[in-house]
């Protein structure tokens, strides 16, 4: 119990990932959906860093580095698209983005 091992971190990662997935499935507002994807990315980052620490291998930390870079660019592009959408239609709810619905 008092000795923190790899499993502790993996369990924590699972819990955070489940919270993020719950948010992705539950949210309708696209901005809050973006928040949930950030939670998903961070949960995976914790797992990578923990495995990297407990196996004495730096590859996991490298992956975390690139995941953070990808998250940053995702936010930049995603928010730009959201702003364009909001200017044109006045809201950012998922239900209104049904123009490609078959």
């Amino acid at each position: 119990m008092m000795e923190i091992g790899l499993n502790h971190y993996l369990v924590l990662s699972v819990i955070l990932f489940a919270i993020g997935l719950y948010g992705v499935m539950n949210r309708k507002n696209l901005l809050l959906l973006f928040f949930s994807t950030e939670i998903l990315l961070n949960a995976v980052n914790i797992a990578f860093a923990a495995i990297s620490h407990y196996y004495g291998d730096l590859t996991g930390q490298m992956f975390v580095f690139f995941v953070i870079a990808i998250a940053a660019s995702e936010v930049a592009i995603g928010l730009g698209l959201l702003i364009v959408w909001f200017k044109r239609y006045g809201n950012i709810d998922l239900d209104h983005m049904a123009t490609m619905k078959g």
Partner: protein, 190 residues
């Protein structure tokens, strides 16, 4: 002992913050809770000896990403309450937990199979930042450059998408056209 206390404290805080983020009805609460959760996650990186990543986490997430979200929220109507999908909550929760466990099984399968070998082991006597730098600029140089180009593309894309009047180029217009444009703007403003 100290590590255990720190782990449980920050685990509780992070889970609480992210839970607030996904359940609250106010967008501003979600934003602040997410920012706090990001800072608490950096504590895990410090506990795990990844000092460089902890600093990066604070700088990039709370410094850049959260600031960007805060600026983006100025465009949106964030004061009204956020409506949520009316789905079956038990099915959603069950599916979330199931898929998260599945992902951990995928992660854990090679560990159980004991297939992980340290390709780039942590060097003794060198700091974490130093080691990360050595590996990043030798083994991961090309991904690093590609990530830099990707960030540049994202920056240009963000400017073009969020900026105004990107279809006009002041350098390609004559002085008369620019004056016309300015007068039109004044009419719109007044």
């Amino acid at each position: 002992m100290f590590e255990a206390i720190a782990f449980y404290l920050f685990a509780f805080l992070t889970i609480a913050m992210f839970y607030i983020t996904v359940t609250t009805q106010q967008a501003l609460y979600a934003l602040t809770a997410l920012a706090a959760g990001m800072i608490f996650i950096s504590a895990f990186f410090f506990i795990l000896g990844a000092d460089f990543l902890g600093a990066i986490q604070i700088i990039v997430y709370t410094g850049a990403v959260m600031a960007l979200y805060a600026f983006g929220m100025m465009f949106f109507d964030t004061t009204r309450e956020v409506k949520e999908k009316q789905g079956n909550k038990y099915i959603i929760t069950g599916l979330s937990i199931l898929s998260a466990v599945l992902i951990v099984v995928i992660f854990a399968a090679p560990i159980i199979g004991d297939n992980i070998k340290a390709i780039y082991p942590i060097v003794e006597g060198a700091g974490n930042t130093q080691t990360v730098g050595m590996i990043l600029f030798t083994k991961y140089l090309i991904p690093f450059e590609v990530a830099a180009v990707m960030l540049l593309v994202a920056m240009v894309g963000g400017i073009v998408l969020a900026g105004k009047k990107m279809d006009l180029s002041l350098t390609l217009m004559s002085a008369v056209e620019i004056d016309d444009l300015n007068e039109k703007d004044k009419k719109v403003l007044s």
